[in-house]
Amino acid sequence: MVKLSVVGMLRRSLVHRRARSFSALIAMTVSAGVATALLTLYADLDAKLHKEFRSFGANVVITAPPSSPFRPDALARVRQAAGPDALAAEFGYAVATTDTGTPVVVSGTDFAAVKLLDSWWQVDAWPDATAANGALIGQRAAQFVGNEHAVGLTYAGHSVTLQGVGRIKTGGDEDSRIYMPLAAFTSWTGVGPSVIEVQVPGGAARVEATMARLRQELPDMQVQPVRQLVEGESKIVDRTHALMYGAVLLIALTVAVSVLATLSASVLERRRDFALMKALGGSQGQLMGMFLLEALVLALAGVAAGFVVGSAAAWAISEENFHTATLPHISVLPLVFLLNVAIAAMAALLPLRVLRGLQPAALLKGE
């Protein structure tokens, strides 16, 4: 008589009912795949959303009081304190008179930094970095300018002629202003930068911490959050987070229960095997171990396949929606594994309670 090993029985059981094993494997793969995809997306969600909020521009404004202007290294120190992924731009403001005699706010700034920081500005052409007198003219300010290509401005008796390169349109205060390079602005008006706008990525906690560092770094300056941005961002990210959490639970539950139903049906179907083994002298514990082992093997295979499929799905969703890739997170693997094993164990053990009460003889007779 051939001695039956556990491995041999397992292999026979899986191979013999190939269709059944295959459908159970697919069920486990789907549950692991869905769990992996959702958890991976969930893990990356906050970072991705915070990135979207960067398009709102600066969330911290540092203002120099009129009595003490910024020191020359202020911007560098802000950049250092805020971290490498923060954006910062400095602005100087002065009220000048145009050639038509209208007062207008002229602002000196670094166009390259502003272009990154204020992505909502609609500018038809940005001035060349090398052009010392290239200016952007607000769409309302443009109505009070004689010749846009040679804008004559006067400030405290000094006059300057700027070359308007493009118009800007924002629907905000910027529409009534003229922007020019900071170096030319300072040499014309003698006024240095008085405002640094900073965009700190991340949620309210990170903004708070950065502001504390900025206050320490620049003790005389006013460091203020743009309150609506900081509050709004945290609120929306939190709510989307909660929504996603609800969705993850809901979908995981659906898949888990369906998989449970499918798997336990397949165990129930094997009442006859159960009865036969029992009749041949298998103990309750041995049989339970056998069923469990089989379910665990399937669960494990499901996790391996599901992780690959789920990571691919998360990557596709992320690429489609956020236009940035989400790389597979190994960290979700233990949770997915635990979830799948729990489902498999439950699927194997639940029907056993039904089976335990059955008499092998009655079952084998077909009653």
């Binding site: 459908s23 069920a27 789907v30 869905v34 997306l41 959303l49 979207e52 909020f53 398009s55 709102f56 521009g57 203002t63 009129p66 403001y93 009220v95 007062p103 706010v105 909502w120 609609q122 309302r140 924002t170 629907g171 905000g172 009534s176 008085s194 405002v195 203020q224 959050p225 743009v226 309150r227 609506q228 941005l229 509050e231 709004g232 609120k235 929306i236 709510r239 989307t240 909660a242 929504l243 996603m244 609800g246 969705a247 809901l250 979908i251 539950l253 659906t254 898949v255 229960v257 369906s258 139903a261 499918t262 049906a265 397949s266 179907e269 969703i317 489609e320 929606n321 956020f322 077909g366």
Partner: protein, 438 residues
């Protein structure tokens, strides 16, 4: 006979029916809840995004430039153009009037203030006339709705044109400068009676922290500001918050350059640009612009979040579809013996298939409807929990359109899921099935 078989099958095999039924129920619940949330997420997030303030501003076309630096407005006092407050009623008549969720007009004046009990020199302040919880159609709107990030200690001032003092709210910077508390008074110059530069007492009902720590603002009800300026009905700027569709390439074209048909399509889409265009048409002399910082970024965030919800809904649909079809397949596979028996008793393949499909269909319709109700309830509960405290959060999420969609999906998935098993069972020899089972 057919109905008896059907009845008996449902009555006798309750456990098996339960399994498949629960799978369908849960699947449709998840899908309904996700779809209901995905369809309402736009409105909900829009409400959240309202904290960013107005997305459309209206100002007089002939107005001078704003000359504002560091919170101080140095715009010349004379020569400014104004809109008429009474014209705001016309906003209710524009095509997308129902999408307007907030209106806040303001009249900004440069004025002088000084403390009440000393002879200190007066200093410049901005007087801003505003609406405070003003009834506008069915909306209660005004400053606090358009600036939800402002914090008010005390209450908003009331307009009492007859009394010998004005009720005002002051910005925190001004309160600090004059050491004002709620209930204290200071003096404000009356612009309308310039002879002698008469001062009137201002009674502080509230202190507003706007997040800007420099502005010397005195907020008064709009009629009071109009009285101070001696310009009845005047408004210098209107902020409008409107529900809009995120901007796409079509939204950016100039409507006047489009052929009439295209222009009509453009006009009838709730783009910020279209709404601004309609406001320009409705209010004479007005220039309406989208506030790009708010509008562009909002559109961005909105489309990302709702896109995410739709994709997750699709994933839920896929997972639920798979789960249901797997459960159906199992349920049929278990009943191969029955099929064999029926065939050996002379039932045609068509009749058996019909019986099984009817069973699946009935189950799908019943469990699907139940799942729809459960899912709608779940979506309402989740929505209310997550978006609590937004006022209209208790809104029902019973979307009737979803019912046929969800039930049809359940039907299709259940039938598609049972088909392979039914076909496989029918293909086998009845005797083989019966013997295998014996």
């Amino acid at each position: 006979m057919f109905f008896r078989l059907l009845m008996e099958s449902f009555l006798r095999q309750r456990r098996r029916k339960m399994l498949a039924g629960v799978a369908i129920l849960l699947g449709t619940t998840a899908v309904t809840a996700m779809l209901a949330l995905a369809t309402t997420i736009g409105d909900r997030i829009h409400k959240e995004l309202a904290v960013y303030g107005a997305n459309i501003v209206v100002y007089p076309k002939a107005d001078l430039l704003d000359v504002k630096v560091g919170g101080v407005d140095v715009k010349p006092a004379s020569g400014g153009a104004y809109l008429e407050e009474s014209d705001l009623e016309k906003l209710k008549g524009i095509f997308w009037a129902n999408n307007i969720t907030g209106v806040s007009p303001e009249l900004r004046l440069n004025d002088q203030a000084r403390p009440i009990d000393s002879n200190e020199a007066s200093f410049p302040v901005s007087v801003v006339g505003m609406w405070f919880n003003h009834a506008f159609g069915s909306l209660k709107t005004g400053t606090s709705q358009l600036h939800p990030w402002w914090r008010l200690d005390g209450r908003w001032p009331l307009a009492e044109p007859d009394s010998n003092h004005w009720e005002v709210a002051v910005s925190s910077a001004l309160a600090k400068k004059l050491n004002l508390q709620i209930g204290s008074k200071f003096l404000m110059r009356r612009l309308a009676s310039l002879e002698g530069g008469g001062y009137t007492a201002a009674y502080v009902t509230g202190i507003v922290s706007t997040g800007d720590q420099t502005g010397m603002d005195v907020l008064v009800p709009l009629p009071v500001a109009q009285a101070i300026a001696g310009k009845e009905n005047a408004v210098s700027r209107v902020e409008i918050s409107a529900r809009t569709k995120p901007e796409d390439a079509f939204a950016r074209v100039d409507p006047d350059s489009l052929p009439p048909k295209q222009r009509e399509i453009w006009y009838c889409r709730p783009y910020a640009n279209s709404i601004a265009y309609q406001i320009r048409e409705a209010i004479p002399g007005a220039q309406a612009e989208q506030v790009r910082r708010v509008e562009q970024s909002e559109g961005n965030v909105l489309s990302r979040i709702s896109g995410l919800m739709w994709l997750i809904s699709a994933a839920a649909l896929l997972a639920a579809g798979f789960a249901v079809s797997a459960a159906m397949a199992t349920a049929i596979l278990e009943r191969r013996g029955e099929i064999g028996l029926m065939r050996s008793l002379g039932a045609s393949k068509g009749a058996i298939a019909f019986l099984f499909y009817t069973e699946s269909g009935l189950l799908a319709i019943f469990a699907g409807t139940l799942g729809y109700l459960l899912g709608s309830g779940l979506a309402a509960w989740l929505g209310a929990r997550i978006f609590a405290g937004d006022g209209g959060s208790a809104q029902a999420v019973l979307i009737p359109v979803l019912l046929p969609v969800v039930v049809a999906l359940a039907l299709v998935v259940a039938i598609a899921g049972s088909t392979p098993s039914i076909r496989a069972a029918l293909r086998m020899e009845p005797s083989a099935i019966l013997r295998a089972d014996a």
